[in-house]
Symmetry: C2
Subunit: 341 residues, 2 copies
DNA sequence: TTGTAAGCGTTATCAT
DNA sequence: ATGATAACGCTTACAA
C-alpha cells in the first residue's frame, strides 16, 4: 500500500497551510483565486484523493449502507440489485451481509455493520429471527433503518414489502375459479411472516368461498425443493388427497411438481399447482407453473429510495409502510378453463 | 445517531488517562490488575465499542474486502456466498459492488472501494472490460488483489478460475462420443475470456477428432436467453444445420432449447444440446439438459482463502493461478447411447 | 486572505 | 504502573 497524497503534501509543496488547501479544494469563498487555482492544479497533478476515513471520523458519516439479507436466491439477488443501483446513483456504497437464514449470523452481521459506522440499515430478517433486540439496538442508536421483504410487524420502522396476503388470495381464488375444490398449501416454517401472510390470504379466500379450512391440507415445510417434494408425496397418499396445491415459493412448486409427476398425475387435469415469485424457471418447466409475481427488482429500488428519503428528511417516517401489489401469472399447471379470467 | 462511548468517557469517569484505558482494554502487561478490572467493568457496563474509523485511520486497515462482480446471477451469487462465508469467518466484512456488465460502472466501483480503503480486492471483470487501467491502479498502490472466475490473462495477479478450456473440451468430446457430427457453439461476446476458453476447448477437440471447424457454426451472442433463441433459430434454418449445439451458459441452453422445440426437433434424437454451469434448472426442464458443473460455491470459498493467504503472507503470490476442474453432468438432451461413458 | 490550533477516537512513544 | 503528547488526515473556529 503506497503513501497517499494528503493535503499536507500539497500545503508543504505550495508553502501554505493545510487549512488553506482544505478551503481551496472545497471552493470556499475566502480564498484568493490564484491560490485556489494553484492548489487545484497540484491536487489534480498528484491525483489527490481525500481520505474518507478521516472525513468519516470527523462527520460521523460513511456514505455506506448496511444491507442484511437472509440469502442470495433469485428474489433477493434481484432486490439487492435494485438497492445497489439506486444507492450507487445517490453516492452510497452498499455493504451486503448474508445471514444465511441464521439468527446468530444476523446478530453478528448487525454488530459488524454497526461497528463499521454504516449510515443506515436495510434489513430483511432471516426465517429464524423471532426476537428483535438487534433491530431495536439499531433503533435505539437512532440509526436510520428500513425493513424490506421479510419485515417485522409491530415494530415502529418504515417497511416495504409485497402484499403477501393478497398474493395468497389471488393464487387461491384462481384455483377455486378453475374448479379446484380441495386446495392444499405448502407453507414455510411456522412463525415466518411472509409465509403466514400468504397462508392468511389462502384461508380468507377459502372462507369467502365457503370452503372449510382443513388443517391436514396445511403443511409447514422448509423453504426448499426436497422438503416440498416429500411433503407433496405425503399429501398425495392421503385418503382424500387435495386436487390443487399452492406453494409459497417456486422452489417448493418445483418440488411439488416432481412428486406429482412421480405419482403419475397430470396438471392441470388431475391436480392444479400455483407457485410464488414468478421465477423464470416457472415458464421453462413442463407443464409451466402459474406463479405470483412479486416485482423483486422494483421492491429493491423502492426500498433504497425509501431509505434515502428517510435519511435526508427529518420528519418521522417510522409509520411508513409501502405495500406492493402482486400479480398472478397463469400458466399451464393450473389453467383448466381456457377463457376464464 | 446517539453519542458513542469512547475511552475518554471511561478515562474521565475513572480519573485516569486515556492511554491507561487503552492499555487496560487491550490487556497490556503493564497495567495494575485493579485498574484493568475497573476499566473492563465500566467498559462492559457502558457497552463501549471501539471506534473502527479511528482505528482504521491509524492503522490504514479497515478489515474490509472489496468485491466487484459483473452481476448476481446464479453462478456469481453462489461464488459471493462462498467468499462471504470465508471472509466473515476471518473477521472481514465484504463490500459487494455490481458492475452490471458495464465497464464504466466497474471503474466507478473500483474508485469507490479504493476511496473506502478496503484492505484488498476480489474482482471478476465485466464482459465489456477490455482495458485494465483500473486493475493496474490497484496493483500500483500495492493493494492485495485476486481475480476470480472472469479473470484477465497476462496480468501478474493471483487468479482462480475454472478450467474453461477443459469445460469446452468435455462438453464437445461428449457430443462427439454420442455420435453428433456437426456441432455448433453458442459463445458469448467476442473477446470475453471465459467464452474464448470454452470455445478453444471446443475447437481443440474438433481438431483432435478430425472434424473441420466451421466458422458458420460458431455464433457469438449475448449471454442471454433471447439472443440464444434467435441465434439458434438461424442455425436451424441453415442449409446444412448442426446436429448438436454447445452453449457456454445454461441460460443460453434454455434459449436454444426453445428454438429447437419451436422447430419441432427432438433432443437428443435429432439434435444434441449441452449447456454450462449446471444450474438447477437444467434438471428441471424437459428434456433435462446436460451441463458442465463449475463448482461456483467452492470457487468462491477458494478465492477468499487465496485472498486471505495473500494478505497475510509476504511472499509474492502474483504468479499463483488456481484452476478448478469442471465436470460434465450428462442428461437427456445429449444422451443417445444409453451406456456410453 | 491566510494561518494556528483544537478536535474526531485511538494507539504508540517517551517520560515519569 | 501511569500519564502526556504526537500522530493518522481532515475541517473549522478563531485569530491575525
Amino acid at each position: 500500500m503506497e503513501k497517499q497524497i494528503t493535503i499536507k503534501d500539497i500545503a508543504y509543496a505550495l508553502h501554505i497551510s493545510t487549512s488553506t488547501v482544505s478551503r481551496a479544494l472545497r471552493d470556499a469563498s475566502d480564498v484568493k483565486p490564484e491560490t485556489k487555482k494553484a492548489v487545484k492544479a497540484l491536487a489534480e497533478e498528484l491525483d489527490y484523493q481525500p481520505n474518507k476515513l478521516a472525513l468519516s471520523l470527523l462527520n460521523k458519516r460513511t456514505n455506506t449502507i448496511g444491507v442484511i439479507i437472509p440469502n442470495l436466491d433469485y428474489v433477493l439477488a434481484a432486490m439487492v440489485k435494485g438497492i445497489d443501483e439506486v444507492a450507487l446513483e445517490a453516492g452510497y456504497t452498499v455493504m451486503v451481509c448474508q445471514s444465511d437464514e441464521s439468527f446468530g449470523r444476523e446478530i453478528v452481521n448487525t454488530k459488524r455493520l454497526l461497528d463499521s459506522f454504516v449510515d443506515g440499515f436495510i434489513v430483511s430478517v432471516s426465517s429464524e429471527t423471532k426476537v428483535f433486540e438487534h433491530i431495536k439496538k439499531i433503533q435505539n442508536r437512532k440509526i436510520p433503518l428500513v425493513l424490506f421483504d421479510r419485515i417485522i410487524q409491530n415494530l415502529n420502522v418504515p417497511k416495504i414489502h409485497l402484499d403477501n396476503i393478497e398474493g395468497g388470495r389471488i393464487a387461491t381464488q384462481h384455483l377455486i375459479d378453475q374448479g379446484y375444490k380441495k386446495i392444499a398449501i405448502l407453507a414455510g416454517p411456522e412463525n415466518m411472516g411472509i409465509s403466514n401472510d400468504r397462508m392468511e390470504g389462502y384461508m380468507q379466500v377459502l372462507k369467502e368461498n365457503k370452503i372449510r379450512v382443513d388443517k391436514n391440507l396445511i403443511i409447514y415445510c422448509d423453504f426448499n425443493q426436497d422438503y416440498a417434494r416429500e411433503a407433496t408425496k405425503e399429501l398425495l397418499s392421503m385418503k382424500y388427497p387435495p386436487d390443487a396445491i399452492f406453494t409459497i415459493s417456486d422452489r417448493m412448486a418445483i418440488g411439488a411438481m416432481q412428486a406429482i409427476k412421480e405419482r403419475g398425475l397430470k396438471m392441470p387435469k388431475d391436480i392444479g399447482l400455483v407457485g410464488f415469485n414468478n421465477e423464470p424457471v416457472t415458464s421453462l418447466v413442463t407443464p409451466s407453473i402459474s406463479s405470483v409475481e412479486m416485482y423483486a427488482y422494483d421492491i429493491g429500488k423502492a426500498t433504497a429510495k425509501l431509505f434515502l428519503e428517510m435519511l435526508h428528511s427529518d420528519v418521522d417516517m417510522s409509520n411508513e409502510e409501502i405495500i406492493i401489489k402482486p400479480k398472478l401469472f397463469v400458466r399451464e399447471s393450473s389453467q383448466r378453463t381456457p377463457t376464464r379470467k
